[in-house]
């Protein structure tokens, strides 16, 4: 394991040399609470080697195939970075006079209109700082809508059993009770069960379409009608919008609120490379509830709140530079966004088809942008789990697929190849997965003990979860 930067620290070393100051020096002696802030002291060369060394131990889309289902680890074009680092975008301040940032406002407006067009919604806010934050925003809007209509008994939010865990969490955060609706044999929402759950207490149904099994729910119209007729609203988790751009629109399916994860569909950086952005789109009847700080057409000033606004969700204008990366991606692709989705679907179906002679596909019909394998049989026969197979992939410069999700599939491996991967990359991954399947039969212990080449070998995840050490103590 690499040392921590604090362990590399050596008294008197420094990576930064400040130029002589032309300002008078100020004494801090008058402050009572003084002490060593204990920052690491390290020379520039050692600092660079430390971080480059860490980056070499990590796996990213820029280093290898990353078919992490539901996370859409598509390649992020460097053009996005070029645009986001333009001075007019990168070197502005949210408090500078409005007349000096008119171009930035226009770019935000342009993105809101583009997202509205792609999703079939009437307005978007760029406020939320991430997908789950967008979900929370959307659910607050739904709560405010029912409250405004004095429809206070609507406390129930229905969520499918295949949903992302953030859905029930966001609903609970917004004050709702969550009820789960089962999936049917085809992997869609069980209509009969939904019918028995929807009533005058239903605030909303949260749905991902295509869902986390990578399947488009063909009953979406019936589902939407059912919820709307009962007076509930329809919430679209836009996590999988990358599969349907230019082909189908949540607004046309009947959804009232949509959140998007710009890092998935629109190629902005993920996770630690963020920050994130989770724009929320609404139909006309919900525009008055949008957060304060949204850049809306009919507001007298930028600081005015829509009439029934849920309030501010974030300071200033959201994560502006992230939204500019997404705008770049949309403008660069234009009508080609449809090809993006079609290639994502093609790649997933190609991999699923190629793997299906060796592996068991949980729902073997034509999929959208991702599909789910079940290793239940392999677990029983060879005592090799989805986790063991995933660990073995780490030795071959391939990031494992999403494991053990959705929970309705046992020993699940959820594969999302993305449109940005070539056929050669897919073929390589297919051949590796088939080879590992053969190893499973010939020498299961090889997989049970993998990986062998990573900086950290098999970790004791049970111990880590039961006795987590979350803090570094300096000796």
């Amino acid at each position: 394991m690499a040392k921590l930067i604090f362990e590399l620290s050596s008294l008197g070393h420094q990576a930064v040399t400040f130029p002589p100051s032309h300002l008078p020096s100020v004494s801090f002696d008058e402050f009572e609470n003084q002490g060593n802030i204990d920052l690491p002291e390290i020379a520039e060369i050692d600092l660079v080697r430390h971080y480059i060394g860490l980056s070499k131990m990590a796996h990213g889309v820029d280093t290898g195939f990353y078919p992490l289902g539901s996370c859409t680890m598509k390649y992020n074009p460097k053009l996005n970075e070029d645009v986001a680092s333009l001075e007019g975008f990168a070197k502005i301040h949210p408090l500078q006079p409005l007349w000096s940032v008119q171009g930035n406002l226009k770019a935000m407006r342009h993105l809101q209109d583009a997202l509205s067009e792609i999703c079939g919604m009437d307005e978007f806010t760029l406020q939320p700082a991430a997908g789950a934050h967008g979900e929370f925003t959307g659910m607050l809007i739904i709560a405010a809508y029912h409250r405004q209509n004095n429809d206070l008994k609507r406390t129930k939010v229905i969520v499918p059993d295949a949903a992302h865990g953030t859905n029930p969490a966001s609903a609970v955060m917004a004050g709702f009770d969550v009820v789960t609706v089962k999936s049917n044999a085809c992997g869609g929402v069980d209509l009969d069960e939904l019918r028995s759950l929807v009533d005058e207490n239903t605030a909303a149904l949260m749905l991902t379409n295509p869902n986390t099994l990578g399947l488009f729910d063909p009953n979406i119209k019936a589902i939407a009608d059912l919820v709307h007729e009962a007076g509930g609203l329809l919430y679209y988790d836009g996590a999988n919008l990358n599969a349907i751009m230019g082909l189908s629109r949540p607004g046309d399916m009947g959804f009232d609120v949509v959140h998007l994860n710009l890092h998935k569909t629109f190629s902005t950086p993920h996770g630690g490379g963020g920050p994130g952005s989770g724009p929320v789109g609404v139909k006309t009847h919900l525009i008055p509830y949008l957060p304060k700080g949204s850049y809306l057409k009919d507001l007298p000033t930028l600081e005015s709140a829509p009439s029934l606004s849920i309030g501010r969700m974030r300071s200033f204008h959201g994560n502006f530079l992230t939204t500019m990366r997404a705008l770049t991606y949309i403008l660069f692709n234009g009508k080609g966004l449809k090809d993006v989705s079609m290639n994502a679907v093609l790649n997933a179906n190609y991999m699923m088809h190629q793997l299906s002679d060796v592996y068991t596909v949980a729902y073997p019909q034509t999929c959208m942008h991702e599909f789910v394998l079940t290793l239940e049989k392999e677990k029983d026969q060879y005592n090799v789990s989805a986790k063991d197979l995933s660990k073995a992939m780490l030795d071959h410069n391939m990031h494992p697929p999403t494991m053990y999700f959705p929970q309705i599939v046992h020993e699940a491996l959820m594969i999302e190849p993305n449109e940005t991967e070539s056929k050669a990359t897919l073929d390589e991954a297919i051949s590796l997965l088939k080879q590992l399947h053969q190893t499973m039969i010939d020498d299961p212990s090889y997989l049970q003990n993998a990986p062998y080449t990573t900086p950290v070998l098999r970790v004791d995840d049970v111990l880590a979860a039961r006795v987590p050490i979350l803090k570094y103590h300096k000796e």
Binding site: T180, E376, M403, Y404, F405, Q407, V462, A465, R466
Partner: protein
């Protein structure tokens, strides 16, 4: 593996209930459940005096794979929770039919439950 204990009643979602006296019942999860979850690392216990209803969620357990809801096979009021699970959640893996999660004062409606034979059949059909 996947043993079923006689004399217990089960929910199709893999919880069991065992009658302790006329009105008190012990509730836990089945061997299949602990096996499917894998190593359990945390149990978010309910609280004493909470009311539970048959078929409704009363707590969740976290394994290295996922967090899963646990449903109550019995209706009533919680009189005791198994606090040893706070520090030793692995007890549910080690002895699923001996280790209970909560004790409930209430009444048992077996019409919504499976007996050991029916639960065995359920496991065979489902998996």
């Amino acid at each position: 593996m996947n043993s079923v204990k006689e004399g217990y009643y089960y929910l199709s979602t893999h919880e069991w209930v065992k009658q302790e006296s006329d009105t008190t019942f012990l509730v836990g999860i089945s061997d299949f459940a602990q096996h499917a979850l894998g190593d359990i690392v945390y149990v978010a216990l309910p609280e004493v005096n909470d009311n539970v209803k048959q078929g409704e969620r009363f707590c969740d357990v976290e394994s290295v794979k996922a967090v899963s809801d646990v449903y109550s096979p019995v209706s009533g009021t919680i009189t005791e929770i198994n606090t040893s699970l706070e520090d030793s959640p692995e007890l549910l893996n080690q002895d699923p039919y001996g280790v209970w999660i909560m004790k409930v004062e209430g009444s048992l409606d077996t019409s919504g439950l499976l007996d050991s034979a029916a639960y065995t059949l359920h496991l065979e059909n489902e998996h």
